[in-house]
């Protein structure tokens, strides 16, 4: 035996690593697939280290695009999206995307560089207190003061972003922390399981209330998608026969052809949905938060209803409408645990189904111009179960919500809470990267599209086969509609008739593009779009005077719907 083989075995010390290297390792340890980002001075050490990362970095052309793409990636996969930017302007460019994720409860980890620690608080070049700026719009945030904490902070950040009610978190990395060499990083300690136990008395009260109701109604929100509870909701609806309305974020939770599915409620909801809410005697709220766009005038919303509110976020319960029965828990576990006695609500079910078919949307608009609702309906039906819409904000967004067929809530990406124009293109990009097998289509308007038009370059660079339907009404249509209806037709700053030729712009970015100007061109246009092997844009000219109907005027009760000519 040699002297060396007799020596006690000592585990080799881990090689010292920079903070930047630890960031990359922490992201790889989380199984991150894509980081959407844009480099700059204060985040350069991390960009130096990512050349050895296992994840793929997607270089967007504006940091807002990074946040929106990461948000859409998170919405379609249910995983955490990651975006990254430099300090100062890079960080502030993320802000709209972070707010968007906060409003719609999307799990994001947002990484920003910052100036070196000794310079923080001195108004240094490109210094912004991004932790302070984003405090109201994050679930949590950190400034990393010690590079050794990086593994633990990143593990905690991913856990917090994804757990309970998800949301965005921010990690700010001063430049010196990225450069510092660490011999012994502190590893994360596993988090305690903080799952809530359901309160059996509230569950029994809920069952009793459902059993007694004559006109019960499900009110399905985005929480159903977030909880991945589509199967549970469908099962509950099938077993009980209780009809349902959905918020913008809940669309797709129920099969479109199920007669009890009354569609979207609220400002641009269906008549059947809004009437059912006004008439119901029990509202079973599943992962929804009584947003004013859904409720209209709150004091007149569901005036005859007792309320069962089921939400993972206890702070949502009683925030806007008192709950008679409050169940703070995950819809996915609560619903299967509810077993009400068989209901005798046949007259109510029939009434809802009758109203649904009585108010079915019509697609026989006069004229030979393109009728956007019909185009969107046909597009979604032809794309089938793998259709995913990434919408912008405006009339086109509401038409998509009203007329597209969504196989699940994961198929409808829309900036609901924030209503941020510019979401559609980067969101489509993030979704298509996440679901290369799906027909992902950005549905945009001529105003919204220009807000993040630069991301056409990202599509081109990575060959992302996103399809784009750009509905061009030569105006800021939704604002124009409100000016027509509520400001006596005093049209102010909504004219976009000097728009560029969008198809030519797309081609200049190297993207296949074509125009649709007449109704008879729609079917062939959809064929071309869906068959295109790479990214492709259809520039669709529509009537500037077209409005979205029905409409509940702002501040009015959902009982006071306006109906237009369509």
């Amino acid at each position: 035996m040699t002297a060396s083989s007799a020596a006690p075995k000592i585990a080799p010390l881990p090689a010292p690593k920079t903070g930047a290297r630890l960031v990359v390792e922490a992201l790889d340890a989380q199984g991150v697939e894509f980081v959407f980002g844009y480099p700059g001075g204060a985040i350069m050490p991390v960009y130096d280290a990512i050349t050895e990362a296992s994840f793929k970095h997607i270089l967007v052309r504006h940091e807002q695009g990074a946040a929106f793409a990461a948000d859409a990636y998170a919405r379609v996969t249910g995983k955490v999206g990651v975006c990254m930017a430099t300090s100062g302007p890079g960080a502030t460019n993320l802000v709209t995307g972070i707010a968007n994720a906060m409003m719609d409860s999307v799990p994001l980890v947002c990484i920003t560089g910052n100036v070196a620690s000794p310079l923080m608080g001195t108004d240094a070049f490109q210094e912004v207190d991004i932790l302070g700026v984003t405090l109201p719009i994050v679930k949590h945030s950190w400034i990393v003061r010690d590079a050794a904490d990086i593994p633990a902070i990143f593990a905690e950040a991913f856990r917090i972003a994804a757990s309970g009610r998800p949301g965005p978190v921010l990690i700010d990395l001063p430049k010196d922390v990225q450069i510092r060499v660490v011999a012994a990083p502190i590893q994360a300690t596993p988090a305690k399981d903080t799952a809530r136990r359901l309160d059996p008395s509230q569950m029994r009260r809920a069952e009793a209330a459902i059993g007694l109701a004559e006109r019960p109604l499900l009110y399905i929100g985005g929480g159903v998608r977030i909880a991945n509870a589509v199967a549970e909701v469908r099962q509950f609806a099938r077993n009980t026969g209780i009809p349902a309305v959905s918020t913008l974020q809940g669309l797709g939770a129920l099969a479109a052809d199920w007669p009890g599915n009354l569609g979207m409620l609220g400002m641009h909801g269906t008549r059947a949905a809004n009437e059912a809410v006004q008439a119901c005697d029990l509202l079973i709220v599943l992962g929804a938060r009584f947003d004013d766009r859904a409720t209209g005038k709150l004091s007149e919303f569901a005036p005859h209803a007792r309320v069962i509110h089921i939400d993972i976020d206890a702070a949502e319960i009683g925030k806007l409408r008192d709950a008679h029965i409050a169940i703070a828990g995950d819809v996915k576990t609560v619903l299967p645990a509810l077993s009400p006695r068989p209901l005798s609500i046949a007259p109510w079910i029939e009434r809802c189904a009758r109203e649904r078919s009585r108010h079915e949307a019509r697609y026989d608009a006069p004229g030979d111009g393109v009728y956007a609702p019909a185009l969107l309906k046909e597009l979604s039906e032809r794309a089938g179960d793998t259709f995913v819409a990434a919408c912008d904000v405006g009339q086109h967004q509401m038409w998509a919500a009203q007329h597209c067929r969504f196989a699940s809530p994961f198929a409808h990406l829309t900036s609901g809470g924030l209503g941020a124009m510019g979401y559609g293109l980067p969101a489509g990009l993030g979704a298509k990267l996440a679901r290369p097998d799906a027909h992902v289509v950005t549905i945009s308007g001529d105003g919204s599209f220009i807000m993040n038009i630069q991301e056409l370059a990202t599509l081109k660079r990575y060959g992302i086969a996103l399809k784009i339907v750009l509905l061009d009404n030569a105006s800021l249509g939704l604002v124009r509609q409100w000016q027509e209806l509520f400001f006596d037709g005093n049209f102010s700053e909504i004219d976009l008739s000097d728009n560029p030729d969008f198809a030519a712009v797309a081609r200049a970015f190297g993207i296949d593009a074509f125009r649709i100007t007449k109704r008879e061109e729609v079917s062939a246009g959809i064929d071309r779009l869906l068959a295109a092997p790479g990214p492709c844009l259809a520039h669709v000219l529509i009537d500037p005077k077209e409005n979205v109907w029905p409409l509940v005027p702002p501040g009015k009760s959902n009982a006071e719907m306006m109906h237009g000519e369509a």
Binding site: G132, R165, A314, A315, G318, H324, A326
Partner: protein, 90 residues
């Protein structure tokens, strides 16, 4: 009416800003406030007043409770623990 809340919160960076910002953003004014060390945490005693009739302090308490780093919150006299707190029932 000023309502007193007793909050135990981590000492982590930004925790006080988060707490105060949330209270004001959610429609309350801060009438008085005191701060004490409590082992690894801070204990904040804070008097809040709703700006309008639509704001309920029990909803605010649950919003505070979901802040990361809040360990305990006690609206009025009785203490409600952070984990497993039962929300309002009417």
């Amino acid at each position: 009416m000023t309502e007193m809340l007793l909050i135990q919160i981590d000492r982590s960076e930004g925790s006080l800003q988060r707490l105060i910002g949330l209270i004001e953003r959610r429609g309350f004014t801060i009438e008085r406030m005191s701060l004490a060390e409590a082992g690894l945490h801070r204990e904040v005693r804070i008097g809040v007043r709703a700006r309008d009739a639509g704001r309920a302090v029990d909803v605010l308490a649950r919003q505070i409770d979901r802040l990361i780093g809040v360990r305990r919150i006690a609206p009025s006299a009785d203490t409600v623990h952070s984990e497993g707190a039962v929300p309002c029932t009417a």
